[in-house]
Amino acid sequence: MARVLVIEDDRRTAAEIAAALGDHGFDVECAYTGRDGLLRATAEKYDAIVLDRMLPGDLDGLGILATLRTIRTETPVLILSALSAVDERVRGLRAGGDDYLTKPFESVELTARLDVLIRRHSMPQQETTLRVGDLQVDLLTRELRRAGRMVELLPREYRLLEYLMRHAGRVVTRTMLFEEVWGYHYDPQTNVIDVHIGRLRRKLEEGGEPQMIHTVRGSGYVLRAAE
């Protein structure tokens, strides 16, 4: 079970975050001050840290992050902030943050992003084929087969599917897909991504195969091996 440290000064927010992460299956610990958070982050081993950008006292989020990176603690850090300004996001990522989420956020967004961070950190990706159930993609030739049938994909569809396959079995939010596949950073607030996914789905199920890409209500998608 992945261990996550939450450094957040507001206790109710910390409790909600802990509950959301706990429900998702993480083992969560909370620190309510920057000093306590830094002590724990350096003394113990965590798989990820959720760090509030604004903490009272002399040690704020970016200070903790800078200290951690200085002493070469490579634990992935997701920054939470009430500051939506993009400049803030840039500063957070420059200070060594791995991802940045603006409050208020949805719990699915948080857990899905943490999943990705932890996996990216623990599993160096060097495979040449991805396989999920009867779906198989050759990363070098970009050939996709479903149950032996060749599926032709447009480049953008291919990248969507590759991302979903790399995170098979986990929820991937629309924003994450948009950031990853199109490379722009904002919340598109439209159902356009649904339309893209719909096309991909049709191509995957053209031979009458069962559904693999499932919609998670209100937040995103998950790719699972067909039963």
Partner: protein
């Protein structure tokens, strides 16, 4: 304007300046008068002394008896004692001539000296020279200097009274100038006071001969114009926010109260909570959009700026929205003009979002079978972006209003959307130095963004003037930058 308070006048700049000039002028006049006085008085005194010396020289050759006779002859000719002559023996006792008592001790001979003689009961000033004859007698030649003294007094009095008049005029002038300045300042101060108290339509009064002050007042008035415009805009936005947020909040509250009241089965609870989540998400999205627009408008968002080419961004937008267009039966085409690639500074995510909003709108309002076209443009040195559609277009009178937050063209009020999309486009355009124009594409609507930067030119210069004449971009219907 209020009445002028006398006690305030000495504190005005005008009065102080007048006083300063009065002081300087007074000092100059005093020096000039003093010089004149000393010169005139000195000249008159020397004239008398020279006359006396001449007299002595002429009479010195005569002996005492001749002198006595001469004086006795002359005395009746000078009843007013204008030029008294007198002869004294060796003991300085009077012998002949005018009745003069020599001062004690005896003045040194042949040196002019001042003395007084009683004449008709008044002590008159005289100047004289005493000469000792070879035989030991004393001879006195003198002259009445009363007129000269009188003239000196007159001169001094004239100068003094003249100075007083100048002082009075100067002070009065200073008071008038100070009072006028005070009056103008009071008018301006009162107007500012009223503006501070909330009357933003108030303007500072221009004065009839304000000069410098008027220039300042015009600038301040322009500033107040701008503040008033912004305040009205803020007020409009606030009203719209209140209206547009109240509706979803009402639905949210009503839904939650309904399940609380009915205490339904758990499935219905779940539905109600889902509904509440959807409403809350919508509210958050609106809030976030507002904050983002405000942030972009404040120009604070430049950390994401880098050098980029518009063409790939346009292609990405088309690629992103193409499935949506296809589903609606609208064709989405990218039709870049030749040589429309070029580098400019920008935030790719913001540009994507802005162009995306335009395309999203265009697809939404274009009926099936229509076309939405995306173009990268180039006219001379200017780069631009164009999004055109074959939809119903935007009526001319709405073209500025649609850029305001929450504004929605009436006939489209029921179409989905927050009414914030074009506000964001306008804010992004302004941040990047684009001129935004909404035009009639006959049929349909055409939105163009012309980048204001021309390589090698000052950013603030008007691009319209600098573009080559034969390739001037179309005059925008609503310019924002």
């Amino acid at each position: 304007m209020s009445s002028v308070r006398l006690s305030d006048i000495p504190r005005t700049t005008g009065f102080r300046l007048a006083l300063l000039f009065l002081g300087l002028g007074g000092a100059g006049a005093a020096i000039l008068f003093g010089f004149l006085y000393v010169q005139t008085a000195g000249f008159l005194a020397r004239d008398v002394d020279n006359g006396l010396a001449r007299e002595i020289r002429v009479r010195a050759a005569m002996n005492a008896t001749e002198l006595a006779r001469l004086m006795n002859d002359r005395a009746p000719l000078d009843p007013d004692n204008m030029r008294p002559f007198a002869l004294f023996d060796r003991a300085a006792n009077w012998m002949a001539g005018s009745r003069v008592t020599l001062p004690e001790p005896l003045p040194s001979p042949d040196q002019p000296f001042d003395f007084t003689l009683a004449h008709e009961g008044k002590a008159m000033p005289y100047r004289g020279v005493l000469h000792r004859l070879d035989t030991g007698e004393f001879f006195l030649a003198a002259e009445d200097v009363g007129p000269i003294q009188h003239f000196r007094h007159l001169l001094a009095a004239a100068m003094l009274s003249g100075g007083l008049v100048v002082l009075m005029i100067g002070l009065a002038g200073g008071m008038i100038v100070g009072a006028a300045a005070l009056g103008r300042i009071d008018g301006v101060a009162l107007a500012i006071e009223r503006i501070i108290n909330g009357n933003l339509s108030e303007r500072l009064p221009l004065t009839r001969k304000g000069g410098d002050l008027n220039r300042l007042i015009r600038v301040v008035n322009r500033m107040v114009d701008e503040i008033e415009r912004l305040m009205n805009e803020v007020k409009g936005v606030t009203d719209n926010i209140a209206h547009d947020l109240r509706t979803p909040l009402t639905r949210l509250l009503a839904g939650l109260e309904r399940v609380r009241r009915r205490d339904p089965a758990s499935e219905e609870y779940a539905d109600a909570i889902d509904d509440a989540i959807v409403e809350t998400r919508g509210l958050l999205a609106t809030f976030n959009a507002l904050l983002r627009i405000a942030e972009i408008e404040a120009g604070a968002r430049r950390a994401g700026f880098k050098t980029l080419d518009l063409q790939p961004v346009i292609t990405d937008v088309a690629d992103f929205y193409e499935p949506m267009a296809e589903r609606k039966g609208v064709s989405l085409v990218v039709d870049n003009e030749p040589a429309s690639d070029g580098l400019l500074a920008g935030d790719p995510s913001l540009l994507f979002e802005a162009i995306g909003n335009l395309v999203d709108n265009a697809i939404k309002f274009t009926p099936p079978g229509g076309e939405v076209a995306l173009r990268a443009l180039r006219r001379g040195d200017r780069l631009g972006i164009e999004v055109s559609d074959t939809g119903p277009g935007i009526p001319e009178e709405e073209r500025v209003a649609v850029l305001r937050r929450f504004h929605r063209v009436d006939k489209c009020r029921n179409a989905p959307g927050s009414g914030l999309g074009l506000s964001l486009v306008a804010a992004v355009a302004k941040l990047h130095g684009f001129d935004l124009a909404i035009e009639d594409a006959q049929p349909g609507c055409r939105v163009t963004l012309w980048h204001a930067d021309i390589p090698g030119q000052d950013r603030r210069s008007d691009p319209q003037d600098s573009a080559p004449a034969d390739e001037t971009p179309p005059e925008p219907a609503a310019r924002l930058a």
